[in-house]
C-alpha cells in the first residue's frame, strides 16, 4: 500500500511502476513477435477500502491493493492472454511472449510506437473518497445508522457499508496509443431488518458513483438510512402477489434494470458477431415501441458506469442503441468492431488485469417521454407498480429475462394500493419493449449501486429510465 496522501500517477516517473513508453514499445514488439493483428498492455493499480458497520459499531475495516499488467495479442478471431504481478521486465516480457504464442507465426508484426493520447474527464474528483480523513467517512456511516434507527422503533438491525476504490490504468496499444485514467468509485449501502410482533421484513437503499465526498452534502446519509427503513416498514404487511400476465408500471430510476437485461446484453456485439443473440442481424428493424429511445452513455458526470476511456484505451462515449423503436447498432469492443467491419463504441471493459475485455454496458438509459407519471398510474385499471429491485438476469440466446421486485404495489382503479410480497417478473427481450405503451417525463438515473456480471467478470454500471407502462408482462406471484 502506498502512502494515502500522495497522488502521483501510478504509472510513470515516481509512480508505483516507472514504466516508460519505450518499455511498452519493446513489450508490444515482443508480444507481436510471432505475428498477430493487434496487441495491448493493460497496467492496473487498484486500491480499495471498506468499512462495515453493524450493531452500532464499526465492525471491520478493510484495505487492499493490487497491481499487475495483462498482455493481449489478437490474431484473427483468436486472443492470447497472460499477465504479470511483478512489473519487472522479466515477468512482463514472459507475459507478452506467452500471449503472443496464440499467433500462427510466420513473421513479426511491427507495433506503432506509442504516444500519449489525452482523454476526457467525466468524473473530475479533487480528492477520491478513500483519501479523505477516515473520521469524516465514519461520521457519514453513523448518521445513516442513526437515521435508520430513528425512523421507527420496529427497526431492529441496521448494517451500513462503505466500499471505495481508486483504480489507475494505463493502456498501451500496438496502434500507438498510450492512455492513462484514474477511476474513483464508491458505494454506500444500508440494509435494515424491521420487526413488528412476529412479522419481519428487510429493506435496503444505497448510492454512490465516481464522485467525491460532496455526494453526501446536505442530508444524503440520513436519506439513505431512512429509505432503507421505509422500504422494510412499507413491505411489512405485504400480501401475496398475483400470478400471470398483467399491466406493470415501473417507477423511474432503478427500473432501468429492465433495459439492461431485456435489451442491453442482447446488444453487446460479441453475441451478435457470433449470431447467438436474438438481436443478431436486426439493425434497422423495429425492436421496440416508437416511444423507446435507448442509449448507452459513458459520459454521465460522476456516474457509477461512466468511463473516460474503456479498458482498451478508447474514449468513453454516448451510443444510441435504439431510436424511436428502431435498432441503430450494437455496443462494441475492438475485437467485435474489427470483425464486424465497423467503428468501435468504446465499450471494451474488464474487471481487472487478470482477464480480457468484452463488450460491456456503461450507463444504459431509456430517455424521457411525454406522459405525466401520475397519468400513467391513473390509466391502469388493475396492475402492479414496482419501484425497488434486487437484480435481474437474461438468457441471451432466447431473450428470456427476469428481474426481481423488492418493493411493489397493486394498482386498482388508477390508484396505488396494497404492498406486494417479493415477486419476479419474466419477459422476452425483443417482445417486452414492444409492450411499452406509455413513457413518463420523469427520467431518473439510478444512484450508483449496480454491478453487472458477464463471463465471470463484474463491472460497475448505471441504469436509468422514466416511469414506463408495460401493457403486458408475466408477474410471478403466488395468487393464480
Amino acid at each position: 500500500m502506498s502512502d494515502p496522501c500522495t497522488r502521483v500517477p501510478a504509472f510513470g516517473p515516481g509512480g508505483v511502476s516507472e514504466v516508460s513508453p519505450q518499455q511498452c514499445d519493446h513489450l508490444l514488439t515482443e508480444a507481436l513477435g510471432r505475428g498477430g493483428d493487434y496487441a495491448d498492455l493493460f497496467f492496473e493499480h487498484s486500491r480499495s477500502s471498506s468499512f462495515s458497520f453493524e450493531d452500532g459499531r464499526v465492525k471491520n475495516v478493510g484495505r487492499g491493493v493490487s497491481l499487475g499488467m495483462g498482455a493481449r495479442v489478437v490474431d484473427g478471431e483468436a486472443t492470447g492472454y497472460a499477465y504479470a504481478q511483478d512489473l519487472e521486465s522479466g515477468p512482463m516480457g514472459e507475459a507478452a511472449r506467452t500471449a503472443g504464442s496464440i499467433a500462427a507465426g510466420g513473421g513479426a508484426t511491427r507495433p506503432v510506437p506509442v504516444t500519449e493520447v489525452s482523454c476526457p474527464s467525466f468524473y473530475p474528483v479533487e480528492t477520491p473518497t478513500l483519501m479523505t480523513p477516515d473520521a469524516d467517512r465514519l461520521a457519514l456511516i453513523r448518521r445513516a445508522d442513526e437515521a435508520a434507527r430513528a425512523y421507527d422503533p420496529a427497526v431492529k438491525k441496521v448494517q451500513v457499508s462503505l466500499g471505495e476504490g481508486l483504480r489507475q490504468v494505463l493502456v498501451a496499444t500496438s496502434d500507438g496509443r498510450w492512455v492513462t485514467d484514474e477511476q474513483p468509485l464508491f458505494r454506500f449501502f444500508v440494509r435494515v431488518v424491521a420487526e413488528k410482533g412476529d412479522k419481519r421484513q428487510s429493506g435496503s437503499s444505497g448510492g454512490g458513483g465516481r464522485q467525491g465526498l460532496a455526494y453526501f452534502d446536505g442530508q444524503r446519509p440520513e436519506e439513505i438510512g431512512r429509505e432503507a427503513a421505509r422500504v422494510a416498514l412499507a413491505m411489512m404487511d405485504a400480501q401475496e402477489a398475483p400470478a400471470g400476465k398483467m399491466t406493470v408500471v415501473l417507477g423511474p430510476g432503478d427500473s432501468g434494470i429492465l433495459l439492461h437485461e431485456a435489451v442491453g446484453h442482447g446488444l453487446e456485439a460479441d453475441f451478435n458477431r457470433k449470431g447467438t443473440s436474438n438481436y443478431s442481424g436486426r439493425v434497422g428493424e423495429v425492436v421496440a415501441s416508437n416511444l423507446c429511445t435507448v442509449v448507452d452513455d459513458a459520459t454521465q458526470p460522476g456516474a457509477r458506469g461512466s468511463i473516460n476511456v474503456d479498458d482498451e484505451g478508447l474514449r468513453g462515449r454516448r451510443t444510441v442503441l435504439i431510436e424511436k423503436g428502431i435498432l441503430k447498432g450494437y455496443m462494441h469492443d475492438r475485437l467485435s468492431a474489427r470483425l464486424m467491419g465497423t467503428e468501435t463504441t468504446g465499450n471494451g471493459r474488464r474487471e481487472d488485469f487478470t482477464v480480457t475485455p468484452y463488450p460491456r454496458m456503461t450507463n444504459t438509459f431509456l430517455l424521457a417521454g411525454e406522459s405525466d407519471p401520475e397519468e400513467i398510474i391513473r390509466s391502469v385499471n388493475r396492475g402492479i407498480y414496482a419501484c425497488h429491485f434486487s437484480g435481474g438476469q437474461v438468457n441471451i440466446s432466447n431473450g428470456d429475462f427476469v428481474f426481481s421486485l423488492t418493493e411493489s404495489y397493486l394498482i386498482e382503479d388508477g390508484k396505488i394500493t396494497a404492498p406486494l410480497r417479493g415477486v419476479n417478473l419474466i419477459g422476452n427481450g425483443p417482445d417486452v419493449l414492444t409492450q411499452v405503451s406509455m413513457v413518463g417525463t420523469d427520467f431518473a438515473a439510478s444512484d450508483g449501486i449496480w454491478t453487472c456480471g458477464k463471463e465471470g467478470q463484474s463491472v460497475p454500471v448505471g441504469v436509468g429510465t422514466p416511469t414506463i407502462k408495460l401493457a403486458g408482462i408475466t408477474v410471478g406471484g403466488t395468487q393464480a
Binding site: K157, V355, G399, T406, G422, G476
Partner: protein, 455 residues
Amino acid sequence: MSDSTDRMIATAESLVTRALEKGADTAEVLLVTSRELTAKIRLGKPELVQQASSRALGLRVIREQCSAVCHTADLSPAALDDFAAQAVAAARLSEPDPDAGGPDPTDLAAPADRPDLDIHDPNISSLDADRALAMAVAGEQAARDHDPRITNSEGATCSIAEGQRVLVTSGGFTGGYRGTYVSLVVEPVADDADGKKRNGHWWDGRRHLARLASPEAIGAKAARRTVEQLGARKLDTCQVPVIFSPEAGAQVISTLFGVISGDAAYRRSTYLLEREHTPIASPLVTVVDNPLLPGGPGSRPFDGDGLASRMNVAVDRGTFTGFLCDTYAGRRLGRPSTASAGRGISGPPGVSSSNFYLLGGNFTPEALLADTDQALYVSRLMGFGFNPVTGDFSKGAEGFWINKGERAFPVSEVTISANLDDLLQSIDAVANDLDHRTSTASPTFRVSKMTVAGG
C-alpha cells in the same frame, strides 16, 4: 505438503510475527496461489488462450478487540513490514467487538486431524494449452455432429486450475493444502422460430482429470439439451407439481444454506429464527454440509478459522438441527462453532458451505417422472427472487411440461413461486441421481404444488 507450501507457510509465519511486533493481539494470514489455464474455441478454432499464475494474501489483525483485514500481492519483505503496520493502523479505526477473534487454541485442528481429501491430481499440472484446446474442439464437434439442428455455437471452454491455500494464525494454527480442478463446458446454439436461439450448454468439472466426463459425452448432452428446447412455449398460469432437475434443485438448496447460516441468524435475516429442532421440510429431506467428501469440489481439511472439518447434518429427515456457525457466529449465538468458516483474502471469516447437498432418495429420476401425472419439470432457474427474511421465492424457469409421466413439450418464459417454507415441506419425492459436480448439489426432486405464472 510440497516445498512451495513450506515456502508459503514461512512467508505467512513471518507476516504473523511482524503484525504481532507492530502491536496486534491476534494476527491471521491466508496466502493463496494459483495457476490457471483457459482454452476456448469456437467453430473449431481457438478463440482464447489465457494462462497465468497469481498470488495474494490477506491479513486479519485484532488489537484490543478491534479488527481490520488487509490484502496485497506484494510479498517482498520490505513491503510486508509496511503492510503489517498499516493493517494494525487500520484496526484502530474499528470499534471493540468482544466476540471478534479466532477459536480457542485448544480447539484448533491438529496436524493429525487433516485428512487427505483426494482433491489434488498431479496429472492436471501437465495439461498444456494444446491438449486443453483439443478437448474443447472435441466437445464442440461432438455437439455439432450430434444433431443437424445445431446451427451455431457459443464455443467450448476447457479450464484448469491448480491452487494452494495456507493459513497461519497467532492462535497456533498452521496448515495448507493443494487442490486441482478441470472443467469443460460446451455451448451449442440452435435456431428456433421467431429469431430465437436456444442454448442448452452442458459442462462437467472435477478435481481429477480422469474423472471428467469425456468431451464427446459432454458435447452430445449439450446438443440434446439445446434441441430439446426448440419450440418452447409459455404455460397458462396454474398451480401444479414442480420437478426440479439436479441443476435447478441445487439452486434451491443454495437458497436454503443462506437461511440456516449462523450469520443470518444473528442478523435476524432468516425466516428460520426460533425454528431449530422443529420440522422445516418434508421427512424426505436430509441436507448435509460435508467438507470431508473425498474428491468434492468444496472439500477442505480445515475451516477458515483453523478448526478440523466435520460433516454437519443441517436438516435431518425434515428437522432443522441448528444454524451452521463459524467461531464468530457461534459466539454471537452463544454456542460452539460447527467448523463452517469460509475465508477469503479480502474479508473476515464468515459462515460458508463446503459440499452442501440434499441426500438422494430411492427413486431413479425416470421412475420419479413416470410416477408423475402432470407437472412442470424445471431444468433451469433464473434470477435473484428470494427474500431470506420472509422466505418468499419467485424465479424464472424453463424446462418441460410433463403429462402422464412423459415429456410433452418444452416450456420457457414462466416463473415459479412459493414460500421456501412451503416448498421444502411439500417435497414429496427425491430421486437417487445426486452428483457432486458442484459444491452445492441436489438430486432430482418433486414439490407437490407451486404457482407457475405464464401467459
